[in-house]
C-alpha cells in the first residue's frame, strides 16, 4: 500500500484521479484505520488530506455557513457560531465517540463514510446541507439527501473530494436539537439518533419542520411523513401531535426484525416527545 500525503486540493484530486477506486482518503482516520487494521479495507493507496489548509475553517458568507471538510467534531461542538446557529450539529458532534475521537474525527469523514449511525448526518439533514465536491474534471454541488444512498454507500464518485459543506442557519423563531440513544454513555454508536428543526410563526403555527434519523438499517434520512404531521399545527393546540409524530417515526424505521430494531421503535415514541418539548421550550412565546 502506498501512503500519499497531499498538501493541496489540486494534489488531492490528482491522486484521486490516479488511483480511482483503489485509493482511499484518510482524514481523521477514526473510521479508515480500524477498518484497515481489521482487514476490511485494503486500498492500494491511502491519500492523506489532513495537511490541506484549504479544507479547514468555518466561514459565513451572505447568510450561508460553509464548514470545511477537515473541521473536527471537537471544533463543531465548541465553535460559538455552530452552537448558536446550528445547535443540533454542535450537540451531535459532541456525542461522537469520545473526546479523543472528536479531537481527530472530521465532518468530511463522518459524511463520506456515511455510516448508518453517523451522528452528524441527521443534524446536517435538518440544516439542508449542501456538499461542495471537487474533482479533476470540475466542481459539483449535491445535497446531502441526494448523496446518501445507503449505509456506507454514497453518490460520491471515486475521483471526487468533499471540500466543504454549506448549511442553512436556524431562523429567528426557530429551534433545533439532536438526541442520541446508545448503549453506553460514550464510545458507542447510536442505536438511534434524532434531529429536529422547527420554525414557528409569531402566532405559534409551525411553519417549518425537518426531522431526520440515524441508527437504523438505512442511511441517515429525513422522515417526510412525520414532518407533514407537524407542519401547520398550532403549538399551543391541544392535540397530542408529538405523540402521533413519534408513532410515525417508529413506523418509518421499518419492521422490528431484531431486538435492537424493536428497541429503536419503542424508544422513538418517547424520544421525539422529549426532543420536541426541549425545542419548543426555546421558542419565545411558543409554550405560552
Amino acid at each position: 500500500m502506498q501512503f500519499c500525503r497531499v498538501r493541496s486540493v489540486a494534489e488531492a484530486v490528482d491522486e484521486l484521479s490516479r488511483w480511482g477506486t483503489e485509493g482511499r482518503i484518510l482524514a481523521g482516520g477514526t473510521d479508515v484505520m480500524p477498518q484497515y487494521l481489521r482487514g476490511e479495507q485494503s486500498p492500494a493507496a491511502l491519500i492523506d488530506i489532513s495537511g490541506i489548509d484549504g479544507l479547514q475553517g468555518i466561514s459565513e458568507v451572505g447568510g450561508v455557513t460553509s464548514i470545511g471538510a477537515l473541521v473536527t467534531m471537537r471544533r463543531l461542538a465548541t465553535a460559538s457560531l455552530v452552537q448558536l446557529r446550528y445547535p443540533a450539529l454542535a450537540q451531535a458532534a459532541a456525542l461522537v465517540g469520545a473526546w479523543q475521537t472528536q479531537t481527530v474525527a472530521t465532518l468530511g469523514g463522518n459524511i463520506c463514510s456515511a455510516a448508518a449511525t453517523a451522528d452528524t448526518l441527521p443534524a446536517l439533514l435538518v440544516a439542508d446541507a449542501q456538499l461542495m465536491l471537487v474533482s479533476k474534471s470540475g466542481r459539483r454541488r449535491v445535497s446531502l439527501e441526494e448523496l446518501l444512498e445507503g449505509p456506507g454507500v454514497t453518490a460520491l464518485r471515486p475521483t471526487e473530494l468533499l471540500r466543504a459543506v454549506e448549511v442553512e442557519p436556524l431562523g429567528e423563531r426557530g429551534a433545533e436539537g439532536y438526541v442520541k440513544v446508545s448503549r453506553r454513555s460514550a464510545m458507542d454508536l447510536a442505536v438511534v439518533g434524532l434531529a429536529l428543526r422547527l420554525s414557528v410563526t409569531p402566532s405559534g403555527v409551525i411553519s417549518g419542520v425537518r426531522i431526520a434519523l440515524c441508527g437504523g438499517a438505512r442511511a441517515a434520512h429525513r422522515v417526510p411523513t412525520a414532518e407533514s404531521l407537524l407542519l401547520g399545527s398550532q403549538l399551543s393546540g391541544d392535540i397530542d401531535v408529538f405523540g402521533a409524530v413519534g408513532e410515525e417515526l417508529a413506523r418509518a424505521v421499518g419492521p422490528a426484525v431484531s431486538p435492537e430494531a424493536h428497541y429503536r421503535r419503542r424508544v422513538l415514541r418517547g424520544l421525539f416527545d422529549r426532543l420536541a418539548r426541549r425545542c419548543t421550550a426555546q421558542i419565545p412565546g411558543a409554550s405560552g
Binding site: V181, V241, A276, R277
Partner: protein, 817 residues
C-alpha cells in the same frame, strides 16, 4: 509513628506510571520461538481429520503438533477431565486442537489459522437446563473414567460435575406451617474478567528443568499443574512471576504454560505464546452462568421458617474449580438473614461451552443477587419496608451458618446498617423517590389525557427513582503462605515471598507496611521480591482476598523474629536489656537515653560478621473454623474463614423513555478488620463496584448454541468512567486476633453485593421485579410496557399497606402463593 492506616506510595507506582514495568506480555528471549493454537471452531463435534500441510507451507513454520504428539492423559484441578489437545472429539468452541510452532508470532498465528480441521459437528449441549434434561447427550460419555483429586465423592453423574446437598429433612413441616410461600427464580449470565494484559507464557528448558515466566496469580499452582500435565516432578518446574496486567481470577490455573514447556523441551529453545484478543474472550474462565430458584416459607409476622434453594451452575466443558465453588451457596443462604431451616442443592453441570472458573468473589454476586432479590420479594409480599424487614431478619451473634459454623461477629452487619443510614437515610430516600413517582404519574396522566403537550415537562418528569440494599458476609481465603524476612546490612529489609501483586496493592503496599511496622522502618525501606517458586516457600496465590491476611501474618511473624534477633544483638552492643530498647525509623535506642543508639544497619553488619546474617521465615494457614462435617454431601470448601461484613446501598434513576438506568449514588459499608492502607482499600471498593455495575447493567456474555455472541471488548459493554459514580465508602474496623495487626481480607467483597443492590433499586423504581441480569434498556422498557393498561409507569405498590396491628392488609401479589 505507625505506618499502618497511612497510604504510602506503592513500590511499583513509579515504574508502572512511566511504562517501565516489565509485564509478562513484554518478555522476550534471544532465539525465542512462538507457538499458537488451532482451536475448535465449533461447540461440539467429532474430529475426522487434522491436516497440518497448509500450515506447514507457511514461511517460518517449524512444526504442527496434535494430540498424538503430546501427553495423552487428562488432568485438572479437581476432576482430571481436561486433555491438553482435543483427541477424537471437541467439547467447546475454542478448545485447543493443534499447536503450530514457528519462528515468529505472525507465522505461528497464520499457521494456526491455516491448519485444516475436519470436524463432524454435533448438536451442542448449550445450556445447563439442556444438560439436565432426561436423556440429554452426555458432554463426556466417559465421565466415569475421570479421576477426582483425593478420591472425594463430589456427586458426579453424567452431565453433573458436582452436586452439593444440604438437607436437614425438616422442610415439609416448616412449609406446612407457613402463612405465605414466596418463590423466585434468579438468572444470571456469565461474567468476563476483561483484564487488559492477555494471557502469555514463556518457557525455557535447561539441565532437565523447566523455567516458566509468566504474569500469573498463582505461580505454585502453575508449577504443580505444569508438572501434572508434562509428567515431571513439581521441583523440576520453576515458575517466575512478572508484573500482572490484571487477572481477577482468570489467571489462577494453567493455560498456555504446559504447551510452552513441552515445546521448549522439544526444540531446546525458549518458546513463547500469547492469547489474541479473540482467544482471551473465547476461552476466558468466566464467572459461571447460574439459575437459582428460591422458595421460602414465611409467617405473617415476618419469620422465615424455611428456605428451599435449588441451584444449577454452568461448568462449561470441563470441571475446572466448579466442584469446589459449589460449596459457596452454603455460606450465603441462611447466613446473612435468619431462616429456620434450609435445604440447599447445588449442581454444577457440563455443557459444550468454554469452561467457567474464578472471577473475583466466586459465585458471590449471583448468590447474593438471588438472596437479596428474594428478601425484597418477601418484604413486598408482607407489605413490609425492605430495610426494616432486613433488620428484623439479620443473623445474630452466635447464630450458626448452614455448615454449623458459628457467626461470632454477626452484629457487625447490624452496625453496617446503622452506619449507612447515618450517611444516606433510607426513609428520606424512600419518601423522596415516592414523591418523584407522583410527578411522573401526573406527567404521564397529562400526556394520556391529551393535554397541552408543548408544555415543558416538570424537571425529570420521565425519570423514576429507586433504592436498594444488599448485604453479604464474605470469606478471606485461608490457603498457605510463607515469607522470609531478611535484614539487609544497610538497615533496610527485604521480604522474600511468592505472594503476587495482582494490582490491588496488597504486596506493593500492605505487606511492606506490615514488615515495616514490625521492624520499626519506613514502608519504603522494605523491598519485596517477585514470585519465584525456586526461591520461596509455597504461596496459594493472589485470590480470595488472602494476601494481606495470610501472607501478612507470615510476614508479621517472621519480622517479629527478626526484631527479636536485632534487639538481642543490639542489647549486647548497647549494654542494655532488650526490653529497654525501641526501634524507630531504623534506629535502635535505649528508651530514655537518646545518645545510646545504633542504626539497624550497624546492628545488621555487626550480626552478619559475628553470628551471621539476620533472617527469619514464617508460614501461616488460617485454621478451618469449627463446623459440622456431616452438614452436606459433596462439600469441598468446609468452612468460611475470617468472615467480613458488607452492606451496599444503591440509588438509581430509570429513564422511562430510553430505559437506561443511571446509578446516582452508591454507598458501601465494608468491614476490613484493620485498614492497613486506606487508599488501596478505597481502590478495591471503587473497582469492585464498577465491575459489579457492569454485571448488573451493561456487560453481555451471551451464548448462542454454545458459542459466544459478543466477541470484542466493544461489544462486551464494560461500564465507562461516566457510568460509575464516585462510591461513598464507610470502612469499619473490627480487628481479627489472628490477622496481621487485625487485618482481614478486603479485595473481593466489594463486587459481591453490587448487582443485588442495583437490581433491588431498579425493581423498586419501576415496581416490576428484575430477577434476571443484565438489566438492559430493552428489559426496562419491556417491564414498563407490561404495566397494566399502560396506565402509569409509577405504581405506588411499594408503599407498605399495613393496618394498625401491623398486619398485612392487601393480598400479596403473584409472587406469593
Amino acid at each position: 509513628m505507625s505506618v499502618l492506616g497511612t497510604s504510602p506510595e506503592r513500590s511499583d507506582a513509579d515504574a508502572k506510571l512511566r511504562g517501565q514495568a516489565i509485564f509478562g506480555a513484554d518478555l522476550s528471549r534471544t532465539g525465542m520461538l512462538w507457538a499458537a493454537l488451532a482451536r475448535s471452531p465449533v461447540a461440539a463435534g467429532r474430529i475426522r481429520a487434522i491436516d497440518p500441510a497448509p500450515a506447514l507451507r507457511g514461511d517460518g513454520v517449524l512444526e504442527v503438533l496434535t494430540s498424538a504428539d503430546v501427553p495423552d492423559w487428562r488432568t485438572g484441578v479437581i476432576v482430571s477431565d481436561t486433555p491438553l489437545l482435543a483427541a477424537g472429539s471437541v467439547a467447546y468452541e475454542g478448545e485447543p486442537v493443534a499447536i503450530v510452532v514457528a519462528e515468529s508470532r505472525t507465522a505461528a498465528e497464520a499457521g494456526a489459522r491455516a491448519v485444516a480441521l475436519d470436524i463432524e459437528t454435533a448438536e451442542p449441549v448449550s445450556t445447563p437446563e439442556q444438560a439436565l434434561e432426561p436423556g440429554a447427550r452426555l458432554v463426556h460419555p466417559d465421565w466415569n473414567r475421570f479421576a477426582v483429586a483425593g478420591g472425594e465423592d463430589i456427586g458426579r453423574n453424567g452431565n453433573v460435575v458436582a452436586e452439593v446437598v444440604h438437607d436437614p429433612g425438616d422442610l415439609d413441616e416448616a412449609f406446612a406451617a407457613a402463612d405465605i410461600v414466596v418463590e423466585g427464580t434468579y438468572r444470571t449470565p456469565r461474567q468476563y474478567q476483561a483484564h487488559l494484559e492477555p494471557k502469555m507464557a514463556l518457557a525455557t528448558y535447561e539441565s532437565g528443568r523447566f523455567t516458566i515466566e509468566v504474569s500469573h496469580q498463582y505461580p505454585f499452582r502453575l508449577r504443580d499443574r505444569v508438572a501434572q500435565i508434562t509428567g515431571v516432578a513439581p521441583s523440576a518446574v520453576r515458575v517466575v512471576g512478572h508484573h500482572i496486567g490484571g487477572g481477577f481470577g482468570a489467571k489462577l490455573d494453567v493455560s498456555l504454560e504446559a504447551f510452552v514447556a513441552l515445546l521448549a523441551r522439544r526444540f531446546r529453545r525458549p518458546v513463547r505464546m500469547q492469547h489474541t484478543a479473540l482467544e482471551e474472550r473465547l476461552v476466558a474462565p468466566c464467572r459461571a452462568n447460574a439459575i437459582v430458584a428460591v422458595r421460602s416459607a414465611v409467617r405473617r409476622d415476618g419469620t422465615i421458617l424455611a428456605t428451599d434453594v435449588e441451584i444449577v451452575s454452568d461448568s462449561g466443558a470441563y470441571a475446572n474449580n466448579g466442584p469446589a465453588l459449589s460449596s459457596i451457596p452454603m455460606f450465603v443462604f441462611g447466613s446473612i438473614y435468619r431462616v429456620g431451616t434450609a435445604r440447599i442443592r447445588t449442581r454444577n453441570v457440563y455443557t459444550n461451552t468454554a469452561p467457567t472458573g474464578a472471577y473475583r468473589g466466586v459465585n458471590g454476586p449471583w448468590l447474593v443477587f438471588a438472596n437479596e432479590r428474594h428478601m425484597d420479594a418477601i418484604a413486598d409480599a408482607l407489605g413490609r419496608d425492605r430495610r426494616d424487614f432486613r433488620l428484623a431478619s439479620l443473623a445474630r451473634d452466635g447464630d450458626l451458618m448452614r455448615n454449623g459454623q458459628p457467626l461470632t461477629e454477626a452484629s457487625i452487619l447490624r452496625e453496617a446498617f446503622d452506619r449507612v443510614d447515618e450517611l444516606a437515610p433510607w426513609r428520606d430516600i424512600v419518601s423522596r423517590n415516592q414523591a418523584q413517582r407522583g410527578i411522573v404519574s401526573r406527567n404521564q396522566a397529562q400526556r394520556d389525557a391529551g393535554a397541552r403537550t408543548s408544555q415543558p415537562a416538570e424537571s425529570d418528569a420521565d425519570v423514576l427513582r429507586g433504592a436498594g440494599q444488599a448485604a453479604a458476609i464474605w470469606l478471606t481465603n485461608p490457603m498457605p503462605g510463607h515469607a522470609t524476612v531478611k535484614l539487609n546490612e544497610d538497615g533496610t529489609a527485604t521480604v522474600i515471598t511468592s505472594a503476587t501483586e495482582n494490582g490491588s496493592g496488597a504486596v506493593a503496599t500492605g505487606l511492606r507496611q506490615i514488615a515495616a511496622e514490625t521492624l520499626g522502618l519506613a514502608a519504603d525501606a522494605v523491598t519485596i521480591t517477585m514470585p519465584d517458586t525456586d526461591a520461596t516457600g509455597y504461596d496459594a496465590g493472589s485470590q480470595g482476598s488472602r494476601t494481606t491476611h495470610v501472607v501478612g501474618r507470615a510476614i508479621a511473624d517472621a519480622a517479629a523474629d527478626v526484631r527479636t534477633q536485632v534487639l538481642d544483638r543490639a542489647s549486647r552492643m548497647l549494654e542494655a536489656a532488650p526490653e529497654d530498647l525501641v526501634i524507630t525509623d531504623g534506629v535502635v535506642t535505649v528508651a530514655g537515653v537518646p545518645a545510646a543508639s545504633l542504626t539497624l544497619g550497624a546492628v545488621a553488619q555487626a550480626a552478619t560478621w559475628s553470628d551471621g546474617p539476620i533472617t527469619a521465615g514464617a508460614s501461616y494457614v488460617t485454621p478451618t473454623p469449627p463446623h459440622d462435617p456431616a452438614c452436606a454431601t459433596g462439600m469441598l470448601i468446609k468452612g468460611w474463614p475470617t468472615p467480613t461484613y458488607h452492606l451496599h446501598q444503591a440509588e438509581v434513576s430509570v429513564d422511562t423513555v430510553t430505559g437506561r438506568v443511571t446509578v446516582d449514588r452508591y454507598v458501601v459499608c465494608q468491614e476490613v478488620g484493620r485498614a492497613i492502607h486506606p487508599d488501596a482499600i478505597a481502590g478495591q471498593i471503587q473497582g469492585g463496584v464498577a465491575q459489579g455495575l457492569g454485571f448488573a447493567l451493561s456487560e453481555r456474555v451471551d451464548l448462542d448454541h454454545g458459542r459466544y455472541v459478543q466477541r470484542t471488548f466493544k461489544a462486551h459493554g464494560l461500564p465507562l468512567a461516566e457510568d460509575v459514580p464516585k462510591v461513598e465508602m464507610i470502612v469499619m474496623e473490627h480487628a481479627d486476633p489472628a490477622g496481621p495487626y487485625g487485618a482481614k481480607g478486603a479485595a473481593e467483597p466489594p463486587i459481591v453485593p453490587v448487582a443485588a443492590a442495583v437490581a433491588n433499586a431498579v425493581s423498586d423504581a419501576i415496581g416490576v421485579p428484575f430477577d434476571t441480569l443484565p438489566i438492559t434498556p430493552e428489559a426496562v422498557l419491556e417491564a414498563l410496557e407490561a404495566e397494566p393498561n399502560g396506565e402509569t409507569v409509577a405504581r405506588a405498590a411499594r408503599e407498605p399497606v399495613v393496618n394498625r396491628d401491623g398486619e398485612q392488609e392487601r393480598e400479596t401479589t403473584g409472587r406469593a402463593s
